[in-house]
């Protein structure tokens, strides 16, 4: 039976209330006050630079150069945003192309990565295939090898696969990132009980179906978080030495080009940075709203 939105909300409320009941016994008022103070201080520390970026993007030129420097803006102006369209005309490829490239690469690669990593994690976490422990150990340790030194061997592989100067260079190497498999495996270890998989098997669900209809919904928080990590990483990707065609370059590359021009462009540079922040923030809100608002009933019973 499908539940209506209202019923679902009520259920959630009940669950939250039930969860909070026990808190009366384990929480003290003094502790709560201490908590809030601590969080406020650290929260301010980490959000201040972001606020500074937004504030600065609205500063007129004279306020950017004022001495002594001021944090807040006194006469906010949208000028820094207004000159952006005219700066776009200087680009050799239409701006929409960079935007398309970035969106295409980020979305396609994120989806593929999350899918491939989750499947591999499922096999490594919940089956008894040969060498699974060896494979997982290699995955973990590969995270610790410095990526910079791998650039030369990787470049040789890219060029022998004819991936240089194509979209593949963005997509293929990002799919098997070890972090995704590691994160998903840890989530499955923690939240998917083995008896559940066994029960699904006895009930006649195939491996693929068990993965898709039982495991993935339970580890939803895991793959939502992974989606966010992956999207943020890909959104800021700039090719180094592997892409030569202007029409294959990404938005961060274009953004950096727009704002070259020293001090007079300092405001515009901040404006561009602020705009570039929007898609990651949107993905954050969509994924984390779901993570932080649902009371988990994962793996119970």
């Amino acid at each position: 039976m499908e539940l209506t939105a209202k019923q679902k909300k009520q259920q959630l409320k009940l669950k939250t209330a039930r969860r909070d009941q026990y808190k009366r016994y384990t929480r003290s008022t003094g502790g709560n006050v201490l908590y809030t103070l601590f969080l406020l201080i650290f929260g301010l520390y980490s959000v201040l630079p972001m606020i500074y970026m937004v504030v600065t993007s609205f500063k007129p030129l004279d306020e950017l150069l004022v001495f002594p420097p001021r944090f807040f803006v006194i006469r906010p102006t949208p000028a820094n945003y207004q000159i952006l369209p005219s700066l776009l005309d200087n680009l050799s490829v239409p701006f929409s192309r960079y935007l398309f490239n970035s969106l295409f690469i980020s979305i396609v690669t994120t989806v593929l990565h999350v899918l491939v990593a989750s499947m591999a994690a499922f096999i490594l976490a919940k089956t008894n295939i040969k060498f699974k422990n060896v494979i997982f150990a290699v995955v973990q340790f590969s995270l610790l090898y410095n990526a910079y030194t791998l650039e030369v061997p990787r470049y040789i592989i890219y060029s022998s696969l004819h991936m240089i100067d194509t979209y593949w260079i963005y997509i293929l190497p990002a799919i098997p990132s070890s972090m995704g498999v590691f994160l998903m495996k840890q989530f499955m270890d923690a939240n998917v009980p083995d008896p559940l998989i066994e029960a699904a098997r006895i009930d006649g669900a195939g491996t693929m179906r068990t993965f898709w209809q039982i495991v993935m919904p339970i580890v939803k928080d895991g793959w939502l978080t992974l989606t966010l990590f992956e999207f943020i990483g890909l959104w800021s990707i700039t090719p180094t030495g592997t892409i030569f065609s202007e029409s294959l370059k990404t938005l961060p590359y274009a953004a950096a080009n727009i704002v070259q021009g020293g001090l007079t462009r300092a405001g515009a540079s901040m404006a561009v940075s602020c705009i570039m922040m929007i898609p990651p923030i949107l993905v954050y809100l969509v994924s984390q709203r779901s993570v932080t608002q649902t009371m988990s009933s994962a793996g119970i019973k």
Binding site: Q21, Y22, Y25, T26, R27, Y35, F38, L39, F42, S46, P49, M50, Y52, P68, P69, F71, V116, A117, M119, A120, I123, T127, I129, I135, Q140, F141, L144, Y145, N146, Y148, T149, L150, V152, P153, R154, I157, L172, P173, P176, F182, L183, Q186, F187, A190, D221, T225, L228, F229, S273, M276, M277, P280, I281, L285, Q288, V291, T292, Q293, A298, G299
Partner: protein, 312 residues
């Protein structure tokens, strides 16, 4: 007699069917694992292996590699004047930012988790903000700028604590501390968010049972219920923090310049960038990264045992 024969026949048939099923299942397993495994081997395992092999060669990317045995490793420890400095700086960064980062990422997530859903979303946004705003080192550059336009300098000048601007990022005594602060600020994100979703997934019934069983305060609850349930996520956070803490390089390069004054903020990875990227001594660079890998792998093994002790 006839009946038993029938039964055994059926058993045999069942077993055959079962074996066939297992074989088909195994095939599915390999099909599901294959996309990852093939690409992982191609883009990670093969490059790592070739890099490790390269560490025994002299290679400048132009002429053919020449086998030199352990020369690269001997040079690192016996001849290179900068390597010991880079190693000790890396250890200082790792020992300070690693544990503090790991601890903060968990404590903040745990504290944020105490609040209701809406507050929780807002608070976790605050702590994740640095990761969302991209590479914004320049904010710290403005803050600690060496001239009177730097915020810190201008503030201290106006209060009268200092009489002339301090070269924060150019003087060894301050640069290291500032880089540690910025590094902490940036490295928190991934582990913090993984912890948040990990905490959401701890079975609420365990907490109820705990309260009934006489757990009196949140610290007991943390030690006996939360931490043990979070072990696998903590393990993930630990590896990510080790990776970040030992690979400090982007922040010192952006803030203190490259190379930094008197190599005061040189780390193993900035050294790698110099050796591999500017001097094209790829064999030597590979040897350095092998040593760095061994350092991190040992740390991981050691700390993994520690994480497993939670709840005892």
């Amino acid at each position: 007699m006839e009946k038993t024969e029938f039964a055994s026949e059926k058993m045999l048939k069942n077993r055959k069917l079962h074996r066939k099923e297992t074989r088909r299942e195994n095939l599915t397993y390999y099909i599901m694992l294959a996309p990852f495994l093939v690409l992982f081997f191609l883009f990670t395992v093969a490059p790592v292996l070739s890099s490790a092999i390269l560490s025994f060669f002299d290679f400048d990317a132009v002429s053919l590699p020449r086998f030199v045995g352990l020369d690269n490793y001997l040079r690192m420890f016996l001849q290179d004047d900068i390597f010991p400095k880079a190693l000790s700086n890396t250890m200082v960064f790792a020992v300070i930012t690693g544990p503090i980062g790991f601890f903060l990422a968990f404590m903040l997530a745990w504290m944020v988790n105490e609040f209701g859903p809406t507050t929780r979303t807002v608070l976790s946004f605050l702590f994740y903000a640095p990761s969302l705003s991209g590479n914004v080192y320049f904010i710290w550059q403005i803050l600690f700028s060496g001239d009177a336009y730097g915020y810190i300098n201008s503030l201290l000048l106006s209060i009268g604590l200092i009489t002339e601007p301090v070269q924060w990022l150019k003087s060894p005594q301050y640069a290291l501390t500032i880089i540690i602060i910025v590094q902490l600020w940036l490295s928190l994100g991934t582990t913090f968010l993984a912890n948040i979703s990990g905490l959401q997934n701890v079975n609420p019934e365990l907490y109820e049972a705990g309260a009934i069983d006489g757990i009196k305060n949140r610290w007991h609850e943390l030690w006996y219920i939360t931490l043990p349930s979070m072990k696998s996520i903590l393990m993930f956070g630990m590896v990510m923090q080790i990776q970040a803490a030992f690979s400090v390089s982007a922040v010192p390069i952006a803030l203190a310049g490259f190379p930094s004054v008197n190599y005061s903020t040189e780390t193993i990875v900035t050294l790698l960038t110099d050796v591999g990227g500017a001097r094209y001594e790829l064999g030597y660079a590979a040897a350095i990264s092998v040593i760095l890998f061994i350092l991190m792998a040992l740390t991981k093994e050691l700390l993994g045992k520690l994480v497993n002790m939670a709840g005892r």
